[in-house]
C-alpha cells in the first residue's frame, strides 16, 4: 500500500430539477457535473491541498472522500478498503478513522448542546469509554487546543464562544478520535486574519503528532502553502495541475494555475508576473468542449477547443493537463 487514500475516476453529477415546461417539451435531464473524473492519492502523514475557485468541485470531492456524498462513478480506497461498495453499517465502523472540519464554525456546532458534550460525542457514540472517562479526555483535548480553563469551556454553549474558539472546539471534536484521515474544508476562511495562523499551527501540530493524512480544501493558495506538502489545482470538476507545493507556486505550468497564483494579492514583492485571464468559471451544467479552460485561456490553440488535454508528467511528481506541454 503506497497511500492511505486513493481515489480513481471520481465523478459526481447532480441532476438539475426540471420544470414542468422542460418535461412537457421532453427536454433531457441536465446534470451539474460538479466532479468529473478526479484521481488523487494522499500518502501516509501527508497533507494535500485541494485548491480551486468556487464551482471547481473541490468541496464535493472532499465530501465524497469522507462519505458524505456518494460518487456517481469511481472508486475510493481507504487503507485498501473500497468505500463506495461498503454497506452503511460497515461504513460506520470506518467513520471514526476519518473526520471532517467544516468551514463555518458557527454552523458546525449544535447550538443547543454544551460544547464539552459535543466534543465527547464521538467517544460515547462509538462506545469507546464511559461518561466519566470521556469527560476527562475532553478536558485534556480542550486544553490541548488552547481553550483554557477547560472545565469552564466545557460547560459553555457555542454562542458563548468566539469564531476562533468554536473552530478550536470543532478541531478538538475531530481529533479526539485520533483519526487517520481528516478533511478540512476551508477551516480558516471565516476566521479573523490575526487568528488564522494559530489555527493552522494547531492543525499542523496534530498532523505531526498523530501522523495523520489530511486533505486541506482551500481557495487561498497562500494558506495552502503554509500547511500542505503537495497541492492539487482543480478547475471545473477536473484536476489541471498537481505537484509539490513550492514547485507549483514558484513555477506553475497550467495557464489557469498561473492566473490563480498571480491574482493573489501580496504584501511583499511578487515574483510571478500577473497573468490576466478574462471571464469567470463557466457553469458546470454546460462544460466547454476540449480543455475546459480554453474559453478563458490566453494561450489557446485549435487543439484545445476540441480535444481534452492529456495528463503530462513534466517532472517527477509535477503533472499538468495542458496541450502546451504535449510533445506530440
Amino acid at each position: 500500500m503506497k497511500a492511505l487514500v486513493i481515489a480513481k475516476g471520481l465523478k459526481k453529477y447532480f441532476p438539475v430539477r426540471r420544470t414542468i415546461t422542460d418535461v412537457m417539451l421532453m427536454k433531457g435531464r441536465l446534470y451539474v457535473r460538479a466532479v468529473d473524473g478526479v484521481n488523487l492519492e494522499i500518502g501516509f502523514g501527508e497533507t494535500l491541498a485541494l485548491v480551486g475557485e468556487s464551482g471547481s468541485g473541490k468541496t464535493t470531492t472532499g465530501r465524497m472522500l469522507i462519505g458524505l456524498e456518494k460518487p456517481t462513478e469511481g472508486s475510493i480506497l481507504f487503507e485498501g478498503i473500497e468505500l463506495t461498495k461498503l454497506s452503511k453499517r460497515a461504513l460506520k465502523k470506518i467513520r471514526p478513522h476519518m473526520q471532517m472540519i467544516f468551514q463555518d464554525p458557527y454552523a458546525s456546532l449544535d447550538p443547543r448542546v454544551k460544547v464539552g458534550d459535543q466534543v465527547a460525542q464521538p467517544l460515547i457514540i462509538n462506545g469507546l469509554c464511559n461518561a466519566d472517562e470521556a469527560k476527562e479526555k475532553v478536558l485534556e483535548v480542550l486544553e490541548r487546543v488552547g481553550l483554557t480553563p477547560p472545565s469552564e469551556i466545557y460547560e459553555r454553549y457555542p454562542h458563548q464562544l468566539s469564531g476562533g474558539q468554536r473552530q478550536r472546539i470543532v478541531i478538538a471534536r475531530a481529533m479526539i478520535m485520533r483519526p487517520k484521515f481528516v478533511v478540512a474544508d476551508e477551516p480558516v476562511s471565516m476566521i479573523d486574519v490575526s487568528l488564522r495562523a494559530s489555527i493552522l499551527e494547531l492543525l499542523k501540530e496534530f498532523k505531526r503528532e498523530y501522523g495523520l493524512s489530511m486533505l486541506f480544501i482551500t481557495h487561498d493558495l497562500a494558506v495552502a502553502k503554509l500547511v500542505a506538502d503537495r497541492v492539487t489545482v482543480m478547475y471545473l470538476g477536473k484536476i489541471v495541475e498537481e505537484g509539490a507545493v513550492g514547485e507549483v507556486i514558484h513555477s506553475p505550468l497550467h495557464p489557469y494555475t498561473k492566473a490563480l497564483i498571480s491574482s493573489v494579492p501580496t504584501i511583499g514583492n511578487r515574483i510571478l508576473e500577473k497573468l490576466k485571464v478574462v471571464g469567470e468559471i463557466p457553469n458546470p451544467i454546460n462544460i466547454p468542449s476540449g480543455c475546459r479552460f480554453h474559453t478563458r485561456c490566453p494561450f489557446v490553440m485549435n487543439k484545445c477547443r476540441s480535444d481534452e488535454a492529456p495528463w503530462i508528467n513534466v517532472s517527477k511528481g509535477h503533472g499538468v493537463s495542458c496541450w502546451l506541454y504535449s510533445t506530440k
Partner: protein, 286 residues
C-alpha cells in the same frame, strides 16, 4: 410570588422579547392563563349549576346572574365558566394527537426523503387540499357526536400543518454542518433525528400556538353544529347556537357571552403564536 416569578428563566425569556412582540406575548398569556385557571376552578367560580334551570328565563345580566339567564332559565355565566372545560379539553387532545402524528412523520419525511417522503407528502397534501371545516364536519359526522370524536376530527385537519412545517425545517436543519458532523462521527439515525428535533422545537411551538388558535374556532363550529357535546352540557359553541334564535329579539347575552369567550381564547393563542414567531425569526437572523 411575583418576585419568585421574576427570577425564573421563563420570565427572563419573556423579558428578552423586543416590542411589540413582548406586549403581544404578555397579553396572550394573560388571556390564556386566566381561561385555563377559570376552567380548573370552575366548581368554585360558577355560582350556579350550569345545566339546570335556576331562575326565570331570558333575564338580562344582573348582580346574581352576571350574564343573565338563557331561554330555559340556566345561568349563562356559570355555563360560560364550565364551558371553557370542553373547549380546552377538545383543543388539548386534538393538538396532542396532531403533534403525535405530524411531528414524527415530518421528521422522517424530511430526513430520509425518497419514496417515504413522496408518499407521505401526497397523503398530507390531499388532506390539506380539503376545506378544513368541511373535512372536520365529515369526520365528526362519521364518528358520532362526542368531545373526543370532535378532538379526533380536529386533529385530522391539523396533522398536515405540523407535518409540513416540521418537514420543511428538517430539510433546512439536515443540511447544517453540525448535523453532517454527527454523520461523520458515526452517529445513529436516532441520535441525528433527536438532534434535529431539538433544533426545530421553536417551530413546533409556533405552529402549536397558531393552530390551536384556529382549532378553537373549528371546535366552536363543530359544537355549534351539534357534533361535539350534547345539550344541556355547557359549551361555548353549543350556547352560541342556542342563543342565536333569541339574538334578534334583543336577548343578546345568551349568544354574545360565549361568543366573546371563543374570540378571546383564540386571540390569546394567536397573540402568543405571533409573538413567538416574531421572536424566533429575529433570533434566527441574528
Amino acid at each position: 410570588m411575583m418576585t419568585l416569578f421574576l427570577s425564573t428563566p421563563i420570565s427572563a425569556f419573556i423579558r428578552s422579547f423586543p416590542q411589540p412582540a413582548k406586549s403581544m406575548l404578555i397579553l396572550g398569556l394573560v388571556i390564556v392563563i386566566s381561561i385555563v385557571v377559570m376552567a380548573i376552578l370552575a366548581p368554585y367560580i360558577a355560582p350556579h349549576d350550569p345545566a339546570s334551570r335556576v331562575y326565570i328565563e331570558l333575564q338580562p345580566p344582573s348582580r346574581n346572574y352576571l350574564m343573565g339567564t338563557n331561554h330555559v332559565g340556566m345561568d349563562v355565566f356559570s355555563r360560560v365558566v364550565w364551558g371553557s372545560r370542553v373547549v380546552l379539553f377538545v383543543v388539548a387532545v386534538s393538538a396532542a394527537i396532531s403533534m403525535a402524528f405530524g411531528v414524527p412523520l415530518g421528521l422522517i419525511s424530511g430526513y430520509y426523503g425518497g419514496l417515504v417522503d413522496r408518499v407521505l407528502s401526497i397523503i398530507m397534501d390531499s388532506i390539506y387540499a380539503f376545506p378544513s371545516l368541511i373535512l372536520a364536519i365529515a369526520v365528526a359526522a362519521v364518528l358520532g357526536p362526542s368531545p373526543l370524536n370532535a378532538a379526533i376530527s380536529i386533529a385530522v385537519i391539523y396533522v398536515p400543518t405540523y407535518y409540513r412545517m416540521v418537514r420543511g425545517e428538517t430539510l433546512k436543519v439536515k443540511q447544517m454542518p453540525f448535523i453532517e458532523a454527527l454523520i461523520v462521527l458515526g452517529c445513529s439515525d436516532a441520535t441525528i433525528l433527536k438532534s434535529i428535533f431539538r433544533n426545530i422545537t421553536q417551530t413546533v411551538l409556533v405552529v402549536f400556538s397558531l393552530s390551536v388558535a384556529d382549532a378553537i374556532l373549528t371546535e366552536a363550529a363543530l359544537s355549534f353544529l351539534g357534533l361535539s357535546v350534547t345539550w344541556p352540557t355547557p359549551d361555548w359553541g353549543l350556547d352560541l347556537r342556542s342563543g342565536q334564535p333569541h339574538l334578534l329579539n334583543g336577548y343578546w347575552w345568551i349568544a354574545m357571552c360565549p361568543g366573546l369567550m371563543i374570540i378571546a381564547l383564540s386571540l390569546g393563542f394567536a397573540l402568543i403564536g405571533e409573538a413567538l414567531s416574531d421572536y424566533f425569526s429575529i433570533a434566527a437572523k441574528v
